[in-house]
């Protein structure tokens, strides 16, 4: 059953969104303390609930720059359990490599989380349910989405802070491409490219409605992301109850203008807040964490003055 169905509320009728920026210099810091403390500030309704963490798992990543770091995933899982969640699943459907297990081995997730067994869900091969797309951002009328995603009480998008050579940036909203099952659409999920990446991001997010976002920006990627870019240390974790607001804030951290990113500009009218004045920012100040990320020449228009 689709538990993700939510009304689309126009931005002018939405309450303020909340985004917290935390400085974290490296993955060896006490991530559990930072993440638990940060999540506690949001008073999330997760007690006795099933939570799904959706990290960005892409592929072999010797520099630790492409995938959401397993230490962040593990500390987040532990934090939600400490907050009273009944079960915390981790799930992703990598887009380029069908061997999800190879990616998990490559990032050594098990070394950080222990054996997950059925608490890891390969979303590429999960059972699926048809979801009618009501936002009509693309010409797609429907998408088949994993039942695990549609059935959880609380969905958390956990991207890496990266530039993207088609979409400008890939953050918590673009990260949801990974819930679209390869077993229905292939590797890569090319039907989304043909439907338009920017608009597909809107349709998927409107259908799945993530409840929370945590961006791993401790070490990000700049330039020709999301796979072949260069490492860029930003030293931050971002938390927020509105994926649009989190992604907009992440763009500002990267020295980019969110309103110039097509899908974020559109999302700002119907899925969340883009406007900084509608985002109640907690934690560090923007000025103290802003780190200019380089972009491909096609995206120079995104760079903030």
């Amino acid at each position: 059953m689709n538990q993700r169905k939510r009304d689309v509320i126009p931005s002018f009728a939405r309450p303020l969104s909340h985004v917290m920026i935390r400085k974290v210099a490296c993955y060896q810091e006490d991530l559990l303390a930072v993440i638990f403390e940060s999540l506690s500030e949001f008073h999330l309704p997760v007690k006795d609930k099933t939570v799904l963490l959706k990290p960005n798992l892409v592929g072999h990543d010797p520099q630790g720059v492409m995938n959401t770091h397993p230490a962040v995933i593990a500390a987040t899982r532990e934090s939600f359990l400490k907050l009273g969640a009944q079960r915390v699943l981790i799930g992703d459907g990598p887009a380029m490599d069908r061997d999800t297990q190879a990616i998990l081995e490559s990032v050594r997730l098990k070394d950080f989380t222990g054996n997950l067994g059925k608490d890891f869900c390969d979303l590429n091969i999960d059972d699926v349910e048809r979801v009618v797309l009501e936002t009509h951002a693309t010409r797609l009328k429907e998408l088949f989405l994993p039942k695990t995603v549609l059935g959880v009480d609380f969905l958390v998008s956990m991207p890496k802070l990266k530039t993207h050579h088609w979409a400008g940036v890939t953050l918590s909203m673009k990260n949801l491409f990974g819930i679209v099952p390869g077993s229905c659409y292939g590797w890569p999920k090319n039907v989304l490219h043909w439907a338009g990446i920017d608009r597909s991001i809107l349709d998927i997010n409107a259908a799945a409605r993530p409840d929370f976002a945590i961006v791993d920006g401790i070490l990000g990627m700049e330039g020709n992301g999301p796979i072949q870019g260069s490492p860029k240390s930003a030293g931050v974790l971002l938390f927020g109850d509105d994926p649009v607001a989190v992604d907009s804030t992440a763009c500002r951290v990267m020295g980019l203008r969110p309103e110039k990113i097509d899908y974020l500009a559109r999302a700002g009218t119907m899925l969340g807040h883009l406007d900084a004045s509608k985002i109640h920012q907690l934690g560090e100040s923007m000025a103290s964490v802003r780190t200019q990320f380089s972009v491909l020449p096609e995206f120079h228009r995104l760079v903030a003055p």
């Binding site: 091969i125 050579h165 077993s183 659409y185 043909w194």
Partner: protein
Amino acid sequence: MKLFAIPRQLNEADETLRHEILTSLRSAQNADGGWGFHAGAQSRVEPTCWAARAILDSQKNTDSEAVRKLIGFLRSKQLPDGSWPTTDGTDSGSWVTSHACALLARIPDCKKAVEAGLQWLCDDYPRDSSPWRKFLKKFQTDTHIVTHNDSYRGWGWTPRTSSWVEPTAFALIAFGQAQSVGLAASISERRQLAISLLYDRMCPGGGWNCGNPRVYGVDGDALVLPTCWVLLALRDSPEHPSRALGIAWLQQALPQIETAGSLAIARVTLENYGIEPPAAKRNLSFWSVQEIVEQGAHVMAWVSMALNNDRHWPSVFARNSAQDGLEAAQ
């Protein structure tokens, strides 16, 4: 004719693992005759085809109740246009049509279903290689993004999208395995274009990924599974330097493989070329049945196939004495 087989001897642990996997696979067949990716999951065409291959390879009798049920499942899922969908609830065909055709080609009395499926494949043209797209591309300024040769044409994962390496390989495999079924004459040109596409999409240094050998001037990394599907699809094609490079890449990659599914398919691929697989970091029996089951019916089937020297496809290459003599002379 004397036949030689190159496969390694299977040890007791291998045999036990295969037996346990097959037992699990058999018990995971749904009442409708199909398999889901996991026990109790929705029946889908793709895992059904893989599970069926593993089970058919393990028994001589294709007339069992389980086989009748799986054939019934596949027949019931075939769409009126001859294709098969990836899941229930859609009326659009997909790449799993290749899997269904390749499987049913070995079952008596399924000729019409296979013919219809192959015809759908013949008629399915990816949109990226349409004349209109090629015309539009002449005006594109961002030609540095990818370096594909758009005069080639393969198959997409879903209709009216782009050609990709794996569905192209699957279609070629299906055509190869269904040779007894009459095919339109035009398909030979289509096959040739598809083979050319596969060579065009090879990663620098050998091997294949999904079909992006170079993006924004940066070389893509090859992956094990796409490389294996391509090599299996090109098995009966004429010798080609890129194919040799792909085999060499796989031989180098195999010792580093850390997952059962990729290792199984890498092994059967090399064995299909008559090449002894190099020693791997782990043997297949390193993984428990439970660990393999958790990865899905397709991985269970791949491991079972790799542990079966009598498999129907991809067969262990058997060389005749004349070939051996010729190689010795060379």
